[in-house]
Symmetry: C2
Subunit: 212 residues, 2 copies
């Protein structure tokens, strides 16, 4: 299909598609003349994925590029691929601070280490998610709440069950690239829905406890 | 204390504190002269809360104002208050579209209704979290994934257990205003940590299944 049809079918403006092509977020089409190219169904699908990651999840162009690059480069090793996918953090999340990037231990990370050790989880030293937990604990404490890392243990146990559900959903595709794409979708795009479910469940639980 | 000490103890610049005072995010101090005012510990605590909501969670000044207003106006009815707190949505979440704001049914919301009905949850018609679930299902489908609302049922069951943990943490404070503040902290500020726990658990589960 021409770029105009790609634009129509994806509801992405032509100028945006050209921007994605320049940024390497979308592979080039098959040149049919000096100024025209032909695009296929894989382009449409990739374009929708890019739109979902940038438009819906608010990832930066740079993070999206890294993530897609990781997906296409690691077709064989599912564990390594998932690690890269899970390590990609949304642009809105707080990043690791300079200290942890320099390889030194961030203040307060001992609590996160204790939590991971108690759960028996095997995760990489540099997973950005570690820092998110450390930072959350510090924020709650700076607000005067006596919040212990042990309070997160029951949440961690539920996260374990959630992760089992997540990975079960990846097993029904044999193609590694498709599995990687599903992993991106189900880890990154499901996040807002999981938080939404928690809020709705809170409202229901609140109605049961305190409702008239 | 003077505004300079408030700034020092909160690590918030004086110009930012003045901005929060003008926006009504922070109540005025007790005037001691035409140009000076005295602030107390409640100001410091409120200032830290505002910083956490805006700086850590990325809420807009407007959403933060609404949320704090709701907290201070509803000291007595815990359920109503929690509803307001849970209804406040981060600036980064997709808002309800024009159609649902006008009171008509958003396309695709039937699936979300079915999910809530299957769970037996009692939640308000206009909870923004409903829309988030509808939008997620639509995004996944637009990407060519055959994703049924029933796939969310086991996640909803885990969300129910999470909500029970959440509300259990509110019961150890009798003061309604303090309980409201805790509700804000534990619903809004815990969100990134819960997603981080899921990612770490996914990495661990991935290592168990696919690791060398």
């Amino acid at each position: 299909m021409r770029i105009s049809e790609l634009s129509r079918r994806s509801a992405v403006p032509i100028t945006t598609i050209k921007h994605y092509l320049r940024e390497g977020l979308l592979p080039p089409g098959r040149a049919t003349s000096a100024t025209q190219a032909e695009y296929g169904e894989p382009h449409l699908r990739r374009l929708r994925l890019v739109r979902a990651l940038i438009g819906v999840r608010g990832l930066s162009v740079g993070t999206t590029k890294e993530l897609l690059h990781a997906v296409s480069e690691n077709k064989t090793d599912t564990h390594q691929l998932l690690g890269l996918v899970l390590g990609a953090r949304p642009a809105t999340e707080p990043g690791p601070d300079a200290a942890s990037e320099a390889g030194t231990t961030a203040p307060g990370s001992g609590d996160t280490d204790a939590l991971l050790s108690e759960m028996g989880w095997s995760v990489s030293e540099h997973a950005p998610a570690r820092h998110v937990i450390t930072e959350t604990l510090e924020t709650l404490r700076s607000l005067g709440l006596d919040y212990d890392w042990r309070s997160l243990l029951p949440y961690a146990a539920l996260a374990e069950q959630t992760a089992t559900l997540d990975l079960d959903q990846l097993t029904d595709t044999a193609d590694p690239l498709e599995r990687a794409e599903r992993a991106v979708l189900l880890t990154v795009l499901l996040e807002p829905a999981l938080l939404a479910l928690r809020r709705l469940a809170q409202e229901d639980e609140s109605a049961k406890r305190y409702g008239a």
